[in-house]
Symmetry: C2
Subunit: 190 residues, 2 copies
DNA sequence: AAATACGTACAATATTTATTTTATAAAGTT
DNA sequence: AACTTTATAAAATAAATATTGTACGTATTT
């Protein structure tokens, strides 16, 4: 007896777990990364032990290939790592750090990359402008002069912005942010 | 004379401007919002004066409908506002604050929304679990007992996380973050 | 009141992103 | 050496987002 009830309660728990994972996936999308990263992070965090691509595929119902793609992204973001398991020739993955660390890693990585691309373009554009100035030094119409000035001024303002982003990324990466936005100790469920 | 050169230099400048705007658009995508928000922000910032939907459509080559959609998003994110211009029956839009302010607004908004959704789900799941516990109090198999405990513990950990995100959003929203990650005064272009 | 200008809802299309399928290479086993 | 197993590249498909076009409502002008 109780068999049916037990089965149905297990289903309910399963459903709750799934909803939590899906919420995490959606969070990640909001944060600008692939939702499946959130899903896998949630699962790996929940299981608390390293998992193979096959296990992840089984758990999510997605293809193994997709698991491979996403785990690679997670490695690049430094929110997961491989764990060598002797005796098995599968690769095992586990997460690195907790939710907050993952959050910090993701934003750090994204912001740094954005700042870097911006800096790269800004350099290119600045030298282009210098070149234009040099080239047309003899007959510089009022209008063109002004236009170049304006763009340079805007580039400078923009540079201040992405340099600030870089600083912010550092503030996250170093964990300094946690000094000012501390983690509250989690309470036991009432 | 100089007419051809003048035309070509103008084209070059135009191209540079466009590249900067496109970079901004790409930044926004990275940040998890529609790239066109970055584009319009860049244009409005550059022009330094309020613009109508038609002007924006003209400038971007996109449809007026799209401009309307995106401006609405920007209003919701508090990075743009309408400006009433008497005599005209068009609506004029201008940006609110500089790049950094926009950055802060966007993340504040996104993080708050994510935290809110998480909190909502967590509440639902917690009461569901309580309900399950109550319902099956008589014949609680070892296994189910443990499964519920585990999920509750995970929910608690997750709650600590999204509460932290909320705090972080507050830290951004209040501008406190700027105390610790200050804006460097921008240098004049060399 | 008819005509025009404006913004946007709604449906349709295009583009991008996520995911799967098929194919292949490398390593391990028999 | 032939056969498996594992991961992933490359191509194909599906799903989600961004964008446009059409239609319509409201306000304004004539």
């Amino acid at each position: 007896m109780g068999n049916f009830s037990e089965q149905s309660i297990n289903r309910e728990i399963e459903r709750a777990e799934t909803q939590m994972f899906e919420r995490m996936a959606d969070n990640m999308k909001t944060f600008g990364v692939s939702p499946t990263i959130g899903l896998l992070f949630g699962i790996l965090h929940f299981k608390e032990e390293p998992m193979t691509l096959d296990e992840l595929a089984e758990e999510t119902g997605m293809s193994k290939t997709r698991m491979s793609q996403v785990m690679r992204e997670m490695l690049a973001l430094n929110i997961a790592e491989k764990e060598f398991v002797r005796g098995s020739r599968k690769e095992y993955y586990k997460i690195e750090g907790d939710y907050i660390q993952a959050f910090l890693s993701i934003f750090t990585a994204n912001w740094k990359e954005a700042a870097m691309k911006n800096a790269q373009l800004a350099r290119r554009l600045s030298s282009k402008l210098a070149e234009l100035r040099a080239e047309y030094t003899e007959a510089p119409s009022e209008e063109i002069q002004e236009r170049i000035d304006k763009l340079e001024q805007q580039l400078a303002e923009w540079a201040a912005y992405y340099k600030w982003i870089e600083q912010l990324a550092g503030f996250f990466e170093s964990g300094d942010v946690l000094k000012y936005v501390p983690v509250e100790p989690k309470k036991k469920t009432k």
